[in-house]
């Protein structure tokens, strides 16, 4: 069974007298553990698709099956619960809480979803994930004290804290330079490989799409091509081949104040 099955999905917006059709009968299956990259021109409906996939929005018509269950008619609260448990979001602009430590940012989803984890366990989970994305020494840093790439890594840790099935990333490297983009893609590839997480990534850069297992092209709210990636790029290998940055100073772990 596919993790995601979209059947004849339509989404239209009314703006005054005009009706904008953002999705016009889009169908798509996403298998568990795949890394799907969605490409398409600006205004083709990628973000709209992402909002529906992420249960932030409801389709005007059509069906969305998540793990075999039709979630297209779910009400706000049930969607909020599913978002909390099954879906992680990574945004182009990171969307971290300002003036809030990396640790607390990562813990945020754990405050919701009707489950009261003891603070110690929340900290432990968040810390584990920050270590996994290479920020073990930056737990107490606020977003203002982190580079763009580091902020995006915090955001990825946040998206993972509830152990979701699905990670949705809308242009996650859109605000990053190419070197940092490779680092982010390395983390995403590792997540798919090591944790079996399903990633759906939106991008308009074809070379970024080649890190995925499959490229889906959207045009005018429909899927116009859907092809497996032939020569898949390996972000880890690419990063290893890059010349080291002279300014790269990775602080010793446990240098910044680490809470239990």
């Amino acid at each position: 069974m596919a993790l995601i099955r979209l059947v004849d999905l339509r989404k239209s917006y009314r703006v005054g007298d005009v009706t904008v059709h953002a999705l016009r009968g889009l169908s798509l299956d996403v298998e568990r553990g795949s890394f799907v990259c969605v490409v398409g021109a600006s205004g083709s409906g990628k973000s709209t698709l992402m909002n529906v996939l992420g249960l932030l929005d409801r389709p005007t018509s059509g069906h969305y099956f998540l793990e075999g269950e039709d979630v297209s008619g779910f009400d706000k609260d049930r969607r909020a619960h599913l978002r909390n448990r099954k879906i992680g979001f990574v945004f182009q602009n990171f969307n971290l809480l300002p003036r809030t430590s990396a640790l607390e940012n990562v813990e945020l989803p754990l405050l919701y979803g009707g489950r009261a984890l003891p603070p110690a366990e929340r900290h432990a989970r968040a810390r584990g994930l920050l270590e996994a994305v290479g920020l073990g020494s930056r737990l107490d840093h606020t977003p203002q004290q982190l580079s763009g790439g580091q902020q995006q890594r915090v955001a990825i840790a946040r998206a993972l804290v509830n152990e979701p099935e699905l990670l949705l990333a809308d242009e996650p490297t859109g605000n990053l330079d190419s070197r940092t983009s490779v680092e982010i893609m390395e983390i995403l590839q590792r997540l798919v490989r090591e944790r079996g997480i399903t990633v759906v990534l939106i991008t308009h850069e074809h070379d970024i799409a080649e890190y995925g297992t499959r490229v889906v092209t959207v045009r005018d709210g429909r899927v116009t091509s859907d092809t497996p990636v032939q020569n898949r790029r390996d972000a880890a290998a690419e990063r290893a081949a890059l010349p080291p940055l002279e300014l790269e100073v990775e602080p010793e772990p446990a240098e910044a104040g680490v809470e239990a």
Binding site: L56, D57, K76, D77, H81, R99, L111, Y112, G113
Partner: protein
Amino acid sequence: MGGWNILRVALIAIRRNPVRSGLTMLGVIIGVASVIAMVALGSGARASIDEQISSQGVNLIYLSAGSWGRGPGTARGGAGSTTSLTVEDADAVRAQVPLVARVSPGVRGRAQVIAGNQNWNTSIEGGNEEYLEIRSWRVVAGENFTARHVLVADKVCLLGKTVADLLFPGEDPVGQIVRVRNLPFRVIGVLAPKGQGQWGDDQDDIVIAPYTTLQKKLLGITHLNRVTISAVSQDRVEQAAIEITRLMRQRHRITNPDDDDFTVRTVEEMAQTRLDVANTMNSLLMSVASVSLLVGGIGIMNIMLVSVTERTREIGLRLAVGARSRDILSQFLAEAVTLSVFGGLLGIALGIGISETIVRSLGWPMQVTTEAIALAFGFAAAVGVFFGWYPARRAASLDPIDALRYE
């Protein structure tokens, strides 16, 4: 999100903007402090009136000559100015009104009192041997005069504390002679201090003597200014007053109450007037105080609205990671209530401080009661809920996609 986390998140948000939070709270602080101070003023005033009633004697009834001038038939003037009230009236009240316990005929005037080279203008009151008991007044040195003193119009007197201290500083006045309008009176007792009277006058600035002596030897009159009466018990005071009135009308052949040439008043009645004034003043001050609390609430609403707008992206993010509308609602409501409750606590402290300062510097009677504190606190919390509701509602109704996109 559980209760504890809601509070924690609210506290974090409040601490993030300490100056703004402080200014927001200021409105509530001032509102609550003024409510506390105003209620303290009101209950202090009531308590001091109550205290004065009991210090005067709760059973007290005054029968004064003259009426309190209402209507056209009262050209004869105010209470105490006519000569129609007599000792016979007093005797009749004693004999014919069973609800009456004690009766003291009385006259009053002002006089220059001299002792040695000390000289003092004071009020002088005449009564019989029961007068002090009716007024629950004790003698602290020497003795009260007796029925015999009254009968023979003896020139003896009792000094109020103020007069005693002025005329005989550092001396025992008992047994000494004072000259009242050049007439020598022997001081046989000193009265216990009574403090301020109901109109703020000094009740201890007084000389008391047998009324017969004052009538015959000092004032040269035969009528009375007033008769001081005590009822058999506190709950019969009103009935006794009614019967005295009836008797007096009968004796003075008055059919129309507008023609009364006397006035019957109970101490409670007199206090009631002042209580009414105090209450009116108090509600006035209270409404001013409540308005400032209201303004404080509007301040909270204003800041919360700004905060919701500023944090639109944060709200969008929280919704995206699984917050339900009601989680957002409770988060912002908790913030507003925390602000108002903290403001309320600080306001209570400030209100108590203000009350204490006023008591200390101005000597006004003020009473900070636990009820007032509970009331003010409850009000503050209610203000938080009431004025926090709309901004919180607005935050909770945001659409996650729009909120995430908000610039």
